[in-house]
Symmetry: D2
Subunit: 375 residues, 4 copies
């Protein structure tokens, strides 16, 4: 269904940008996982607007309340419902948008699909919808901490507009990423990115960029053959985020311009484990993790809301013009980082439980051939 994600660790999100609130139900969470509201708040705070002077100044505390599924600080194995109430509702600021389709937004397509739409705030197409995802991913993070503590999920801004960061994925840390408001672990480039964002914002314009994602310490064996390949699941996860235009794994599109001889990753035994000496596969082979770093890249378009006058039509079918208003990010990339983290955490946790259910462990216990210890 539209608002469900995952099979074993399954989430269902709800909520419009304006209305009673947004949130999520997590079904299938393992029992007895330590979980405090602060675990969820921490991740929500990274996603929240108003954190720095390069994102939207909208003020929302985004306080999460756990409604069910947790008692005495541990999960019960039953559905965990998390609610974040909406606070800063000013539907008035969206009046004109109610009757004019904002270019490159979802106003027209929601009308075409449903014949009706929430007339303020973008409804389910609002970035606010991602709160439920991030809250669920905070729970996934706690599950991983218990079941597979070696797994570390990180993502960062790889490029803003045409400014590209210089990052060595094998060395990047969470602290490096959080060290600047643009969330790129390359301090010098970060300064240039911040300047560009401010410049573009001052011009009433917007820009996009790329986020790079990394799953470290993933045991071999996660993912599935055929339709639920790990890269397919990650692709769906990332392309379901607002404003995404592209997804690459490992060598990505650049890999299409290499020969097989250049591209193949040789295997070698290292410390008794099967390893590859290069990683153009991006940690996934045949849809299944091979124990190397899982690396991927997500492209985000420039924010559709701009302060220029634009050609558009009314919902009554008349040509007109629209000048953007409201409080929006000139560049979503810094806030997209925790969203990319969230989706990667959800994918990995789901496949960890699926692997345990079908095969009894990660990797499969009692391997018939190479005996591979959990990385």
């Amino acid at each position: 269904m539209s608002s469900s994600f995952g099979q074993a660790f399954r989430i269902h999100t709800f909520g419009e940008s304006h209305g009673g609130g947004v949130g999520v139900i997590i079904d299938g969470c393992p029992p007895r996982i330590p979980l405090e509201p602060a675990d969820i708040q921490r991740d929500l705070d990274r996603r929240r607007p108003g954190q720095s002077d390069i994102v939207t100044p909208r003020k929302e505390s985004d306080t999460a309340r756990i409604l069910s599924g947790v008692a005495d600080g541990v999960t019960l194995g039953t559905p965990i419902a998390i609610l974040v109430r909406n606070e800063d509702q000013r539907p008035g600021s969206y009046d004109e948008m109610a009757t004019k389709y904002r270019p490159s937004h979802a106003d027209f397509t929601y009308d075409a699909k449903f014949g009706v739409r929430a007339l303020s705030g973008g409804g389910r197409a609002s970035a606010r919808e991602t709160i439920g995802r991030v809250a669920a991913s905070a729970v996934a993070r706690r599950v991983l901490a218990v079941l597979a503590p070696d797994i570390e999920v990180l993502s960062w801004v790889g490029a803003i507009h045409d400014i590209v960061a210089d990052v060595d994925p094998s060395r990047v840390t969470a602290d490096d990423i959080e060290a600047n408001p643009v969330r790129t672990p390359d301090p010098e480039t970060a300064e240039r990115m911040i300047a560009r964002i401010k410049e573009v914002r001052a011009d009433g314009n917007s820009i996009g960029g790329t986020v790079e994602g990394l799953i470290r310490g993933c045991p071999p064996g996660l993912g599935e053959p055929v339709f639920d390949k790990l890269e397919a699941e990650l692709a769906r996860a990332m392309m379901s985020l607002p404003a995404t235009k592209g997804f690459e794994v490992g060598s990505g599109f650049a890999g299409t311009r290499m020969t097989g001889r250049e591209h193949n990753d040789p295997f070698r035994m290292v410390d008794g484990k099967v390893r590859t000496t290069s990683n153009r596969s991006g940690g996934i082979q045949g849809g299944i993790s091979n124990g190397e770093d899982i690396l991927f890249r997500v492209g985000f378009k420039p924010t559709a809301t701009i302060m220029s006058s634009q050609e558009t039509v009314t919902s009554a079918g008349e040509d007109t013009e629209l000048k953007g208003k409201g409080r929006h990010d000139a560049c979503v990339l810094p806030r997209a980082v925790p969203m990319v983290d969230a989706m990667a955490l959800l994918v990995v946790t789901d496949h960890l439980l699926r692997q345990r259910g079908q095969c009894g462990g990660f990797p499969a216990p009692e391997l018939g051939s190479v005996r591979q210890e959990t990385v």
Copy 2:
């Protein structure tokens, strides 16, 4: 589940490259759709090896048999099972591969996941697995012909290695694509591509490239908010194909280097319909089709099987070397085209039925605002 795809028009595939056969069950197909075995054979023949001198010479007739769900030339609404028996089994040619992990194949990861694998032919990771998808898509094609005859799904080779075709998506036809064995609707570039493939094959090497996909005549309103956005579904569908490394929709990664002012697609009324005057959205806004051409691009890595000696390890955990053998494509791109077609057809048909179920038609009937006729 791993081998299921779609929600309303739902397929389940099965079969290894070696064994009794490969095939598919289609569940949820509308009843009374005219369907003949030849409809399926036509699409399977496009996917089949041995069609030209630039693909693998393996000889397989790939004859489809409809086992159920069809009577007197029409679908019954019950599960349609289609079986293609395996014919050309020479497990002997894979002997060495049984004990040595082929670099950048799925041999090691299948062992890590399952603790066992089909010792010949790549199991479910074989391109032969896509037969079930293509057979199912031939049924989807017939469903569209009845329910939404304006929809046309086309894809073609956009690049082989560093050779890029010059194609105008708005004018490309199925005949243009089939006019040359490389399946690129740019005859001159096709010649250079063919030469490059032959050259690389003579060298025992391999190359990759990109396939471009187009869904024309799609009514507005298909797709869903949030997780089942049309681009997310297409991304998952394409990234589940063997050898894929990247997916883009509309402006794609290039769009990340534009400003919002450059990137937004203005709306205009044209012939009483809401249209955009540019199409950087790639026909999808907020996860839902807007009636414009849906355009996407898929990156395929160079074939992992090469004729060079490569470093690898045995399944017993010893470093060793492997020289590729067997009959494989030096470039999968020409045969990837019908696979991309297949996945696009499956996604569109599934969302068409979902839209009819939830909203009663495509687009939603009795629109409250703009009355949008089916494009």
Copy 3:
């Protein structure tokens, strides 16, 4: 998943008897269905404790709040989240139960499954969990009112302990059912049932009974062959309610003692429609509705909470005794009626949308053979 029900009209419930609240997300609801909070409150009020002197005196207002998916009094097609906060929390009254497994409750099995449980109030096994189902069914009721207004779902108490009501399903009305607190449309028997409940309660004991369900005006064609047969879906739905022990459809177990000659339902044309002259099939043939009344019966065991001293064990594994406390119904039947209504409404609405998605209408439009109008 455990807390999801339905495929096209799909609900996800959450919440324990004690904690922040209980509720539901409905995904896949058709857009533009008129829906007011009062529509939901009306059904919740029927399920609520404290309505009469034969049910638990626990006071809970059970006020529903619609958090999302509805604007300006109509559904948006996006997830509808409904929350009912918990109010009357007295965990103290459950203290002894926290360490002693209540006989024929779910305390021990939750511990065995999850290794943890909500130590007060029964967690997800509480009847309070059904609030989410009833709230969702109120939305389903509104959907039916628009899409298939001839459908009427009714259920009533058929028996309490060994007291059996005399009811003609073809004539029963909603008012007849609500005319007495025991919800049986047989006023004289109702008096005897009420007396029996009061007598049993005074004794600290409990009793069970049966609820009979009816779906009137269901068009032919709903349901599916094989696993999702309409009777299988109803059986799962009803047997998922707390305290249920049995399910019958049409002739039920009594039908197993008839011969085929006695049991078969002859067809006759009546007013241009295919009808049966008897209805031992209970309105379903081969898993699919035939247009006659759908009739079923659900058995509920006596409430497990009694005021006697009972043998049991502690969660530490010691034999002990437990005397029931707390505020419970001596007979759940009157309050089970809206729960049975709810599950029947959910099943019918789900299959209505599934039928529209796959076959284009209910019944299938343009029948090749008998042209059957919607009943």
Copy 4:
């Protein structure tokens, strides 16, 4: 979907009674489970017509072929496809039935739903459809033999028409059941049942009865709260079998006439395990197994095909008469036994894998309170 069953151990069946064949795909099967074609054939042979003089004399060898998912005698973890070809096709014998709706069959409802149907043999409504279920259950049986060897699934005929067998479920063995063709572990009553079946058949009439099911050695902790309660899953499973009219678990409908004091099952510690001293719960409490025998009963109506002249209508909407022809069972009960076994095996295996995925074992490892060893 209509033809899918299970979540973790998931099956998809296909095939009409006439056509290329019937079969099943099993997705999610654990890898490295020993499996031979003979394992499947053994169970199919129990279901096959023509085994004794009290079932239909139709001759079908029902030979299963494993098409995929198994190599060198073990499962691969990938989809297992099993095909049984149709052999004994005599569509001629069904000619009259093609235009006249057989009373209490699915002919009319399939037409109403799909607007088309397989004009011979009953399509998916044929008992032949259960071949796929039985084949899949044979695989489930092998999975249980490896993962939970203490589990034993048995079922038997409890009643034929008004003749009721006297069976002690705690002592019944597979050999007792197979000792007579009617499959009831009460030799004397079996003789009377056989005589009754022959008598009814000679009269061109038919009879029904009940099948009783038992799951022995089930560890506590299987099943789920709320919608996927173990009894709800069993109810759906059984009510999806052709000709079923009712389902009971534990005390069943008889339990509705007891008081709570009579009905509750006291807990006692026995050999260090939590046990109940009676079993009116039928081995399931709150939807989750408690380690006691799981006991249930399924009611089957008399076979709809009888040799009398019956009133019916034509598919063109004219009143007419039909005299049954073809080769059918006068009583399906003996052949229903392996079908009930099959569905119980599928439910238990699915929940075993679900429990392992979510909670890490059966029961949950490291219980916080009572430490319960696997029974």
